[in-house]
C-alpha cells in the first residue's frame, strides 16, 4: 500500500515539476479562456441583456474547450519518448499511474481554470446564486472532464489526425456534463433547488474516478501493442 | 380511402411522404452500398490472387 502511494506521488510530482518548468504552457489554456470569452461580445454585439443571459453558458463552454485543448498533451510526450512503455513495464498498476497523471493535469489546468472562470463570472456580474451554482458545477465537472477526456486522449495519442479526431470523440462524451451543469445554473437563477443536478454530477464524478483510469490504462495498452 | 385521400394524408401529405421517402432512400442506399462493397472486394481479391498465381 505504501509503495502504491509512493508510485502515485512520484508520477504526480514528476508531472507537476515538468509542467512548472514551462510556465508559459500552463498559462495557455487560461489565456485561451479569456480570449474566447472576449470574442462573444464581438459576435453578439454589446447587447448587455443578451450577454447577461448567456454568461454562464459562455463560461462553461469556454472552460470545456480550454480543458479539451490542454488535455491533448497529457500523454503525448511520454508516448513519444517511451516513458509510457516504462510505466507499463514498471510493475505498478498502470491504472494507478494514469490516475496520478490525470490528477496532476487537473491540478495544473482544471483548478486554475476554475479560478479564472469564477473571476470572469464575478467580473461579468453574474448573480450570486448563479455564481454559487457555477462554482459547484465546475468543482464537480472539471475533474470529470479531465478523467473522461484522458480516455479519448489515450485512444488517439500520436495519431496523424490527432487533434480534430480527439475533439470529435471527446465532445459527445462531455455533453451530459455540460447539460446538467447548465440546467443547475438555470435553476439556480430561477431560485429553484439544484440538488438533483449536483447529485447527478457527483455521481458522474465518482463513476469517472473509479472507472476512468481503468479505461485510460486499457486504451494506452491497446495503443502500445 | 381513395388514392387522392391516401396521397393527401389529411393535409400532412408532404410531411408523411417525405419521411417515408427519406427512410426508403436511406435503407436502400445502405443495401446498395453494402452489396457493391462486397462485389468490389471479391473482384479485388480475385485479381490479386490471379496476379500471385501468374507470378509463380
Amino acid at each position: 500500500m505504501h509503495t502504491y502511494w509512493k508510485a502515485f506521488s512520484v508520477i504526480f510530482s514528476r508531472d507537476v515539476t515538468l509542467a512548472s518548468r514551462c510556465r508559459a504552457e500552463l498559462a495557455n489554456p487560461l489565456i485561451f479562456f479569456i480570449v474566447v470569452i472576449a470574442l462573444f461580445p464581438f459576435a453578439f454585439g454589446s447587447d448587455t441583456e443578451l450577454l447577461r443571459r448567456i454568461t454562464a453558458g459562455m463560461i462553461w463552454i469556454t472552460a470545456l474547450l480550454a480543458s479539451t485543448l490542454s488535455l491533448e498533451g497529457i500523454f503525448r510526450s511520454d508516448y513519444d519518448d517511451g516513458s509510457t512503455e516504462q510505466m507499463v513495464l514498471s510493475g505498478y498498476p498502470l491504472t494507478l499511474l494514469v490516475a496520478a497523471k490525470v490528477s496532476a493535469h487537473w491540478c495544473l489546468t482544471g483548478l486554475p481554470l476554475m479560478v479564472i472562470a469564477m473571476l470572469t463570472g464575478i467580473v461579468l456580474s453574474l448573480p450570486t446564486d448563479a455564481l454559487q451554482a457555477l462554482f459547484l458545477t465546475l468543482l464537480f465537472g472539471t475533474p470529470v472532464l479531465s478523467l473522461i477526456g484522458a480516455i479519448a486522449v489515450a485512444l488517439t495519442v500520436g495519431l496523424r489526425s490527432g487533434g480534430m479526431l480527439l475533439s470529435l470523440l471527446i465532445l459527445p462524451l462531455y455533453m451530459p456534463v455540460l447539460i446538467f451543469s447548465m440546467v443547475a445554473v438555470e435553476n439556480a437563477l430561477a431560485g429553484l433547488p439544484i440538488d438533483a443536478e449536483l447529485y447527478f454530477l457527483a455521481g458522474m464524478l465518482v463513476l469517472s474516478i473509479t472507472l476512468g483510469p481503468i479505461a485510460t490504462a486499457s486504451s494506452l495498452r491497446i495503443r502500445l501493442s | 380511402m381513395s388514392l387522392q385521400d391516401f396521397l393527401h394524408m389529411g393535409g400532412y401529405g408532404l410531411y408523411v411522404w417525405t419521411s417515408y421517402g427519406l427512410c426508403a432512400i436511406v435503407l436502400i442506399l445502405n443495401v446498395i452500398q453494402s452489396l457493391s462493397r462486397q462485389r468490389k472486394i471479391m473482384r479485388e481479391l480475385t485479381n490479386k490472387l490471379r496476379q500471385l498465381e501468374s507470378k509463380k
Binding site: L165, P172 | V16, L22, Q38
Partner: protein, 247 residues
C-alpha cells in the same frame, strides 16, 4: 453441449458460410414484414384523433429510434466480447454495426424533425430526448472516425470497443430522458409493465415495422460482415479456395 455447437461460428470461415446461408432468409423476411407493416401503418391503422394522418410517421420514426439504441448496445457488446476474449468475429460485427446504427439515428432525428414541424410548429427544439439522440449520432460518427484512423485492424477494433463501451453511459440517458425531464417529446409509447397507451390497431403495425427493421438490420449486417471477413482473412487458405471456386 449446445454452446459447443455455436462455438465453431466464432471462426471467420464458418461464420462466413453461415452468413451466406442466412442472408436470403432475413432479406425475404424483411421484404414481407415491410409490406405487411407498411400496409398496416398507412392503410389499416385508423387516423389519430389528435394528430390526424401525420402520426403515421411513427411507423418509421419509432422503429428507427429503437434500432439506433439497440444497434449501439449491440456494437458495444460485440466490441466488449472482442476486447475481452479476442474473438475476431466480434470485432468484425462491431465494425459492421456502426454505419447502420448511424443511419438509423439519422433517420430517427430527421423523421422526428419532420413530424415535429406540423405538430410542435418547429423543426428543432432543444429537448432532452432529441439532444441525447444527437449525441448518439456524434458517438457513432466518432466511432467510425476512430476505426478509420488506425492502420492496424486489431488496434482499431480494440480502441473503438473502448470508445463504444464508454459511450454506453449515454444510452440510459436517452431512454429515460423523457421520464426524467417533462419536455416537449411525448412519453414512452410502449413500456414493459403498463398497458400501452396506444390503440391496438395502431400498435400492431408498429410492432411489425419494428420487427421488419430488425430483420433488415440483420440482413445488411451479415452482408457487411462478409465483406469485412474477406478483407480480414484475405491471405488465408479458405478465402483462396472460395475465390477460385467462384471464378
Amino acid at each position: 453441449m449446445i454452446f459447443q455447437r455455436f462455438y465453431r461460428f466464432a471462426s471467420p470461415q464458418h461464420f462466413y458460410h453461415l452468413a451466406v446461408l442466412l442472408t436470403p432468409w432475413f432479406a425475404w423476411a424483411t421484404i414481407i414484414l415491410m409490406i405487411v407493416g407498411l400496409y398496416g401503418g398507412l392503410v389499416f391503422a385508423p387516423a389519430d384523433y389528435q394528430q390526424g394522418e401525420s402520426f403515421r410517421i411513427i411507423y418509421i420514426h419509432v422503429p428507427s429510434a429503437w434500432m439506433s439504441l439497440f444497434v449501439y448496445v449491440l456494437m458495444a457488446v460485440f466490441g466488449g466480447i472482442g476486447l475481452i476474449w479476442h474473438v475476431k468475429i466480434a470485432d468484425v460485427l462491431a465494425k459492421s454495426c456502426a454505419p447502420l446504427g448511424a443511419s438509423f439515428t439519422l433517420l430517427a432525428l430527421v423523421t422526428g424533425s419532420i413530424w415535429g414541424k406540423p405538430m410542435w410548429g418547429t423543426w428543432w427544439v432543444w429537448d432532452a430526448r432529441l439532444t441525447s439522440e444527437l449525441i448518439l449520432l456524434f458517438l457513432y460518427l466518432g466511432y467510425m472516425a476512430l476505426q478509420s484512423a488506425f492502420d492496424d485492424r486489431r488496434v482499431a477494433a480494440r480502441a473503438s470497443a473502448i470508445l463504444a463501451l464508454v459511450g454506453m453511459v449515454n444510452i440510459p440517458i436517452i431512454h429515460y430522458s423523457v421520464e426524467w425531464w417533462s419536455t416537449l417529446h411525448q412519453g414512452p409509447t410502449v413500456s414493459k409493465f403498463d398497458a400501452p397507451s396506444i390503440h391496438i390497431n395502431m400498435l400492431i403495425p408498429l410492432l411489425i415495422m419494428a420487427l421488419a427493421f430488425k430483420t433488415y438490420f440483420a440482413s445488411v449486417l451479415l452482408i457487411r460482415a462478409r465483406s469485412e471477413i474477406l478483407e480480414y482473412e484475405c491471405n488465408s487458405n479458405w478465402v483462396r479456395e472460395l475465390l477460385t471456386k467462384t471464378d
